[in-house]
Protein backbone atom coordinates (compact mmCIF):
# COMPACT_ATOMS: atom_id res chain seq x y z
CA UNK A 1 0.00 0.00 0.00
CA UNK A 2 1.22 3.48 -0.69
CA UNK A 3 -0.66 5.35 1.96
CA UNK A 4 1.60 4.79 4.92
CA UNK A 5 -0.30 5.86 8.02
CA UNK A 6 0.26 9.51 8.70
CA UNK A 7 2.45 10.13 11.68
CA UNK A 8 1.88 13.10 13.95
CA UNK A 9 3.63 16.05 12.36
CA UNK A 10 6.19 16.52 15.09
CA UNK A 11 6.49 15.95 18.79
CA UNK A 12 3.98 18.08 20.62
CA UNK A 13 6.32 19.89 22.94
CA UNK A 14 3.69 21.61 25.01
CA UNK A 15 3.96 19.85 28.34
CA UNK A 16 0.84 18.45 29.87
CA UNK A 17 -0.40 20.53 32.81
CA UNK A 18 1.53 20.12 36.04
CA UNK A 19 -1.60 18.82 37.75
CA UNK A 20 -1.88 16.00 35.21
CA UNK A 21 1.76 15.04 35.61
CA UNK A 22 1.61 15.15 39.40
CA UNK A 23 -1.70 13.29 39.31
CA UNK A 24 0.03 10.56 37.33
CA UNK A 25 2.42 9.97 40.21
CA UNK A 26 -0.41 9.96 42.72
CA UNK A 27 -2.20 7.41 40.56
CA UNK A 28 0.94 5.26 40.46
CA UNK A 29 1.32 5.39 44.23
CA UNK A 30 -2.32 4.47 44.70
CA UNK A 31 -2.29 1.89 41.88
CA UNK A 32 -2.46 -0.86 44.44
CA UNK A 33 -4.73 0.76 47.04
CA UNK A 34 -4.27 -2.20 49.38
CA UNK A 35 -0.86 -1.09 50.53
CA UNK A 36 -1.59 2.51 51.51
CA UNK A 37 -5.28 2.17 52.42
CA UNK A 38 -7.04 -1.18 52.71
CA UNK A 39 -4.38 -3.25 54.44
CA UNK A 40 -3.71 -0.75 57.26
CA UNK A 41 -7.44 -0.23 57.78
CA UNK A 42 -7.97 -3.97 57.90
CA UNK A 43 -5.20 -4.41 60.44
CA UNK A 44 -6.55 -1.52 62.47
CA UNK A 45 -10.04 -3.04 62.44
CA UNK A 46 -8.77 -6.45 63.52
CA UNK A 47 -6.66 -5.04 66.38
CA UNK A 48 -9.62 -2.95 67.54
CA UNK A 49 -11.99 -5.91 67.48
CA UNK A 50 -9.53 -8.08 69.37
CA UNK A 51 -9.06 -5.37 71.98
CA UNK A 52 -12.79 -4.92 72.36
CA UNK A 53 -13.27 -8.67 72.77
CA UNK A 54 -10.46 -9.11 75.26
CA UNK A 55 -11.28 -5.99 77.24
CA UNK A 56 -14.99 -6.88 77.21
CA UNK A 57 -14.12 -10.33 78.57
CA UNK A 58 -11.95 -8.85 81.32
CA UNK A 59 -14.70 -6.43 82.25
CA UNK A 60 -17.34 -9.15 82.33
CA UNK A 61 -15.34 -11.06 84.92
CA UNK A 62 -14.95 -8.12 87.28
CA UNK A 63 -17.82 -7.52 89.70
CA UNK A 64 -19.73 -4.39 88.74
CA UNK A 65 -18.72 -2.63 91.94
CA UNK A 66 -15.11 -3.82 91.82
CA UNK A 67 -12.02 -1.72 91.23
CA UNK A 68 -12.03 -0.50 87.64
CA UNK A 69 -8.90 -0.13 85.59
CA UNK A 70 -8.87 1.79 82.35
CA UNK A 71 -7.90 -0.28 79.32
CA UNK A 72 -5.22 1.87 77.81
CA UNK A 73 -3.86 0.68 74.52
CA UNK A 74 -2.10 2.60 71.76
CA UNK A 75 -2.97 0.06 69.08
CA UNK A 76 -3.90 2.70 66.53
CA UNK A 77 -0.42 4.12 66.44
CA UNK A 78 1.12 1.43 64.35
CA UNK A 79 -0.40 3.48 61.51
CA UNK A 80 2.35 6.05 61.87
CA UNK A 81 5.17 3.54 61.60
CA UNK A 82 3.32 1.79 58.80
CA UNK A 83 3.18 5.03 56.80
CA UNK A 84 6.88 5.56 57.32
CA UNK A 85 7.44 2.20 55.64
CA UNK A 86 5.02 3.14 52.85
CA UNK A 87 7.04 6.31 52.30
CA UNK A 88 10.31 4.39 52.12
CA UNK A 89 8.91 1.85 49.67
CA UNK A 90 7.29 4.47 47.46
CA UNK A 91 10.50 6.38 47.00
CA UNK A 92 12.69 3.33 46.72
CA UNK A 93 10.56 1.33 44.29
CA UNK A 94 8.13 3.62 42.51
CA UNK A 95 10.67 6.35 41.78
CA UNK A 96 12.82 4.38 39.32
CA UNK A 97 9.69 3.04 37.64
CA UNK A 98 8.22 6.52 37.21
CA UNK A 99 11.46 7.82 35.70
CA UNK A 100 11.50 4.97 33.19
CA UNK A 101 7.98 5.88 32.22
CA UNK A 102 8.97 9.45 31.41
CA UNK A 103 8.27 11.27 34.66
CA UNK A 104 10.65 13.92 35.92
CA UNK A 105 12.13 13.71 39.40
CA UNK A 106 10.32 16.90 40.28
CA UNK A 107 6.90 15.68 39.17
CA UNK A 108 7.42 12.45 41.05
CA UNK A 109 8.31 14.19 44.31
CA UNK A 110 5.42 16.61 44.04
CA UNK A 111 3.12 13.66 43.46
CA UNK A 112 4.60 11.91 46.45
CA UNK A 113 3.93 15.05 48.50
CA UNK A 114 0.28 15.05 47.46
CA UNK A 115 0.08 11.33 48.27
CA UNK A 116 1.55 11.96 51.74
CA UNK A 117 -0.79 14.88 52.48
CA UNK A 118 -3.86 12.94 51.32
CA UNK A 119 -3.02 9.96 53.50
CA UNK A 120 -2.03 12.11 56.51
CA UNK A 121 -5.23 14.10 56.37
CA UNK A 122 -7.32 10.99 55.86
CA UNK A 123 -5.81 8.96 58.66
CA UNK A 124 -5.70 11.92 61.06
CA UNK A 125 -9.40 12.53 60.44
CA UNK A 126 -10.08 8.85 61.04
CA UNK A 127 -8.13 8.69 64.30
CA UNK A 128 -9.54 12.01 65.57
CA UNK A 129 -13.08 10.90 64.81
CA UNK A 130 -12.57 7.47 66.34
CA UNK A 131 -11.05 9.08 69.45
CA UNK A 132 -14.06 11.39 69.70
CA UNK A 133 -16.46 8.44 69.40
CA UNK A 134 -14.41 6.57 71.97
CA UNK A 135 -14.63 9.49 74.38
CA UNK A 136 -18.35 10.00 73.84
CA UNK A 137 -19.18 6.32 74.33
CA UNK A 138 -17.08 5.87 77.45
CA UNK A 139 -14.52 3.74 75.68
CA UNK A 140 -16.99 1.82 73.46
CA UNK A 141 -19.04 1.25 76.61
CA UNK A 142 -16.31 -0.76 78.28
CA UNK A 143 -13.70 1.85 79.17
CA UNK A 144 -11.23 0.93 76.40
CA UNK A 145 -8.75 3.57 75.39
CA UNK A 146 -7.66 2.51 71.94
CA UNK A 147 -7.51 5.83 70.14
CA UNK A 148 -7.76 8.43 72.89
CA UNK A 149 -4.59 7.48 74.70
CA UNK A 150 -3.36 11.00 75.31
CA UNK A 151 -4.99 14.22 76.35
CA UNK A 152 -4.46 15.66 72.89
CA UNK A 153 -6.76 13.02 71.36
CA UNK A 154 -9.42 13.76 73.93
CA UNK A 155 -9.43 17.50 73.26
CA UNK A 156 -11.29 19.25 70.46
CA UNK A 157 -11.69 17.21 67.26
CA UNK A 158 -9.93 19.89 65.23
CA UNK A 159 -6.94 19.90 67.58
CA UNK A 160 -6.68 16.13 67.50
CA UNK A 161 -7.00 16.18 63.73
CA UNK A 162 -4.31 18.86 63.36
CA UNK A 163 -1.96 17.02 65.67
CA UNK A 164 -2.50 13.72 63.85
CA UNK A 165 -1.91 15.30 60.45
CA UNK A 166 1.32 16.97 61.54
CA UNK A 167 2.63 13.84 63.21
CA UNK A 168 1.90 11.66 60.21
CA UNK A 169 3.47 14.16 57.83
CA UNK A 170 6.58 14.01 59.99
CA UNK A 171 6.71 10.24 59.57
CA UNK A 172 6.24 10.60 55.80
CA UNK A 173 9.00 13.22 55.70
CA UNK A 174 11.47 11.08 57.63
CA UNK A 175 10.63 8.07 55.48
CA UNK A 176 11.06 10.03 52.26
CA UNK A 177 14.38 11.56 53.28
CA UNK A 178 15.75 8.21 54.43
CA UNK A 179 14.68 6.48 51.23
CA UNK A 180 16.14 9.32 49.15
CA UNK A 181 19.51 8.78 50.80
CA UNK A 182 19.24 5.09 50.01
CA UNK A 183 18.22 5.61 46.38
CA UNK A 184 21.10 8.00 45.78
CA UNK A 185 23.91 6.43 47.79
CA UNK A 186 22.65 2.92 48.52
CA UNK A 187 23.99 1.03 51.56
CA UNK A 188 26.93 3.35 52.11
CA UNK A 189 24.55 6.28 52.30
CA UNK A 190 22.50 4.44 54.88
CA UNK A 191 25.51 3.84 57.14
CA UNK A 192 26.62 7.44 56.96
CA UNK A 193 23.05 8.66 57.43
CA UNK A 194 22.30 6.62 60.54
CA UNK A 195 25.74 7.17 62.02
CA UNK A 196 25.24 10.89 61.50
CA UNK A 197 21.81 10.78 63.08
CA UNK A 198 23.05 8.91 66.15
CA UNK A 199 25.98 11.30 66.40
CA UNK A 200 23.63 14.28 66.23
CA UNK A 201 21.32 12.80 68.86
CA UNK A 202 24.06 11.95 71.31
CA UNK A 203 25.92 15.16 70.56
CA UNK A 204 22.77 17.19 71.09
CA UNK A 205 21.98 15.47 74.36
CA UNK A 206 25.58 15.91 75.51
CA UNK A 207 25.47 19.58 74.59
CA UNK A 208 22.25 20.12 76.53
CA UNK A 209 23.74 18.26 79.50
CA UNK A 210 26.98 20.24 79.44
CA UNK A 211 25.06 23.47 79.24
CA UNK A 212 22.79 22.23 82.00
CA UNK A 213 19.91 23.25 79.79
CA UNK A 214 17.54 20.32 80.25
CA UNK A 215 15.25 22.54 82.24
CA UNK A 216 15.00 25.01 79.39
CA UNK A 217 14.35 22.14 76.98
CA UNK A 218 11.60 20.90 79.21
CA UNK A 219 10.28 24.41 79.56
CA UNK A 220 10.12 24.70 75.77
CA UNK A 221 7.83 21.70 75.48
CA UNK A 222 5.66 22.97 78.28
CA UNK A 223 5.59 26.40 76.69
CA UNK A 224 4.82 25.10 73.22
CA UNK A 225 2.21 22.63 74.38
CA UNK A 226 1.46 19.39 72.56
CA UNK A 227 0.00 21.04 69.49
CA UNK A 228 2.73 23.66 69.46
CA UNK A 229 5.41 21.00 69.58
CA UNK A 230 3.67 19.22 66.74
CA UNK A 231 3.66 22.52 64.90
CA UNK A 232 7.42 22.82 65.38
CA UNK A 233 7.77 19.33 63.93
CA UNK A 234 6.65 20.90 60.67
CA UNK A 235 10.12 22.44 60.50
CA UNK A 236 11.66 18.98 60.58
CA UNK A 237 9.11 17.72 58.06
CA UNK A 238 9.89 20.61 55.73
CA UNK A 239 13.60 20.01 56.16
CA UNK A 240 13.11 16.33 55.27
CA UNK A 241 11.08 17.27 52.20
CA UNK A 242 13.72 19.71 50.97
CA UNK A 243 16.46 17.18 51.70
CA UNK A 244 14.60 14.49 49.75
CA UNK A 245 14.23 16.86 46.81
CA UNK A 246 17.86 17.98 46.83
CA UNK A 247 19.07 14.39 47.08
CA UNK A 248 16.77 12.91 44.44
CA UNK A 249 17.33 15.75 42.00
CA UNK A 250 20.69 14.22 41.09
CA UNK A 251 19.80 10.61 41.79
CA UNK A 252 20.30 8.10 39.02
CA UNK A 253 18.15 5.05 39.55
CA UNK A 254 20.22 3.19 36.98
CA UNK A 255 22.96 2.62 39.51
CA UNK A 256 20.71 0.44 41.64
Amino acid sequence: MIATPTAPEALALAPRPLTTRVGTTVRLLFANPWTPVFTPLLILGIILLMNLAIWGLVRANIPADGEMAEGVNGGAFFLFVYMLVVAVQSINQAFPLALGYGSTRRDFLLGFGVFAVLLSVGYAALIATAAWVEESTGGWGIGLQFFSTDAIWRSEWLEAFGFGTLLMLLFFGIGAATAAVYVRWRALGMYVFWAGLVFLGIGGAALVTVLGAWEQVGAFFVWAGVLGTAGWSLVITAFCAVAAWVILRRATPSQG
Binding site: M1, I2, A3, T4
Partner: protein, 118 residues
Protein backbone atom coordinates in the same frame (compact mmCIF):
# COMPACT_ATOMS: atom_id res chain seq x y z
CA UNK B 1 14.48 -14.82 3.56
CA UNK B 2 18.17 -14.47 3.28
CA UNK B 3 20.77 -14.80 0.62
CA UNK B 4 23.00 -12.12 1.99
CA UNK B 5 21.88 -9.37 -0.32
CA UNK B 6 19.95 -6.38 0.97
CA UNK B 7 16.45 -7.42 1.90
CA UNK B 8 14.75 -4.80 -0.23
CA UNK B 9 16.37 -6.38 -3.31
CA UNK B 10 15.08 -9.76 -2.23
CA UNK B 11 11.59 -8.36 -1.81
CA UNK B 12 11.68 -6.77 -5.25
CA UNK B 13 12.88 -10.01 -6.79
CA UNK B 14 10.18 -11.99 -5.03
CA UNK B 15 7.49 -9.80 -6.56
CA UNK B 16 9.14 -10.02 -9.95
CA UNK B 17 9.17 -13.78 -9.73
CA UNK B 18 5.48 -13.83 -8.87
CA UNK B 19 4.72 -11.60 -11.84
CA UNK B 20 6.73 -13.85 -14.14
CA UNK B 21 5.12 -17.08 -12.96
CA UNK B 22 1.69 -15.50 -13.24
CA UNK B 23 0.67 -15.61 -9.60
CA UNK B 24 0.53 -11.79 -9.73
CA UNK B 25 -1.24 -11.06 -13.06
CA UNK B 26 -1.01 -7.68 -14.75
CA UNK B 27 -3.51 -5.21 -13.33
CA UNK B 28 -3.66 -7.07 -10.04
CA UNK B 29 -3.13 -5.26 -6.74
CA UNK B 30 0.01 -6.27 -4.87
CA UNK B 31 0.08 -6.54 -1.08
CA UNK B 32 0.77 -3.39 0.91
CA UNK B 33 4.24 -2.70 2.26
CA UNK B 34 2.90 -3.33 5.76
CA UNK B 35 1.58 -6.71 4.65
CA UNK B 36 4.94 -7.52 3.11
CA UNK B 37 6.65 -6.39 6.29
CA UNK B 38 4.42 -8.46 8.53
CA UNK B 39 4.64 -11.55 6.32
CA UNK B 40 8.39 -11.52 5.92
CA UNK B 41 9.02 -10.06 9.36
CA UNK B 42 11.01 -7.17 8.06
CA UNK B 43 11.03 -3.45 8.67
CA UNK B 44 8.22 -1.70 6.74
CA UNK B 45 10.71 0.85 5.43
CA UNK B 46 12.71 -1.99 3.89
CA UNK B 47 9.61 -3.40 2.23
CA UNK B 48 8.74 0.05 0.93
CA UNK B 49 12.22 0.39 -0.53
CA UNK B 50 11.83 -2.89 -2.42
CA UNK B 51 8.43 -1.95 -3.77
CA UNK B 52 9.64 1.53 -4.73
CA UNK B 53 12.37 -0.07 -6.78
CA UNK B 54 9.70 -1.79 -8.87
CA UNK B 55 7.64 1.39 -9.16
CA UNK B 56 10.69 3.26 -10.42
CA UNK B 57 11.29 0.48 -12.95
CA UNK B 58 7.69 0.78 -14.14
CA UNK B 59 6.84 -2.79 -13.12
CA UNK B 60 4.30 -1.55 -10.58
CA UNK B 61 2.28 1.62 -10.57
CA UNK B 62 0.60 3.56 -7.78
CA UNK B 63 -3.02 4.45 -7.57
CA UNK B 64 -3.33 7.17 -5.02
CA UNK B 65 -5.09 6.11 -1.89
CA UNK B 66 -5.79 2.63 -3.23
CA UNK B 67 -2.52 0.84 -3.56
CA UNK B 68 0.04 -0.66 -5.87
CA UNK B 69 -0.77 -2.59 -9.07
CA UNK B 70 1.11 -4.65 -11.63
CA UNK B 71 1.66 -2.56 -14.75
CA UNK B 72 0.53 -3.69 -18.18
CA UNK B 73 3.34 -5.33 -20.08
CA UNK B 74 5.33 -5.83 -16.90
CA UNK B 75 5.56 -9.57 -17.33
CA UNK B 76 6.95 -9.46 -20.89
CA UNK B 77 9.46 -6.84 -19.91
CA UNK B 78 10.64 -8.80 -16.89
CA UNK B 79 10.98 -11.96 -18.94
CA UNK B 80 13.10 -10.28 -21.57
CA UNK B 81 15.29 -8.74 -18.88
CA UNK B 82 15.74 -12.09 -17.24
CA UNK B 83 16.56 -13.71 -20.55
CA UNK B 84 19.23 -11.12 -21.14
CA UNK B 85 20.81 -12.03 -17.80
CA UNK B 86 20.44 -15.75 -18.31
CA UNK B 87 23.74 -16.09 -20.09
CA UNK B 88 25.81 -14.46 -17.39
CA UNK B 89 23.95 -15.93 -14.48
CA UNK B 90 23.43 -19.50 -15.63
CA UNK B 91 25.18 -20.42 -18.87
CA UNK B 92 28.63 -19.11 -18.07
CA UNK B 93 28.82 -20.60 -14.57
CA UNK B 94 27.62 -23.88 -16.09
CA UNK B 95 30.38 -23.84 -18.66
CA UNK B 96 32.97 -22.90 -16.07
CA UNK B 97 31.99 -25.66 -13.68
CA UNK B 98 31.74 -28.10 -16.60
CA UNK B 99 35.27 -27.21 -17.77
CA UNK B 100 36.59 -27.76 -14.24
CA UNK B 101 35.08 -31.25 -14.34
CA UNK B 102 36.23 -32.03 -17.88
CA UNK B 103 32.83 -31.64 -19.52
CA UNK B 104 32.92 -29.74 -22.78
CA UNK B 105 30.00 -27.94 -24.38
CA UNK B 106 28.88 -30.99 -26.33
CA UNK B 107 28.85 -33.13 -23.17
CA UNK B 108 26.85 -30.48 -21.35
CA UNK B 109 24.31 -30.31 -24.15
CA UNK B 110 23.91 -34.07 -23.95
CA UNK B 111 23.30 -33.79 -20.21
CA UNK B 112 20.72 -31.09 -20.71
CA UNK B 113 18.89 -33.17 -23.31
CA UNK B 114 18.86 -36.15 -20.99
CA UNK B 115 17.45 -34.13 -18.09
CA UNK B 116 14.80 -32.33 -20.13
CA UNK B 117 11.36 -33.82 -19.87
CA UNK B 118 10.30 -35.44 -23.19
Amino acid sequence: MDDGRPIFLQIAELVERQIIDGSLPEGEQVPSTNEFAAFHRINPATALKGISLLVDAGVLYKRRGIGMFVADGARDRLISERRARFTTEYVRPLLREGAALGLDAAALIDLIRKESPS
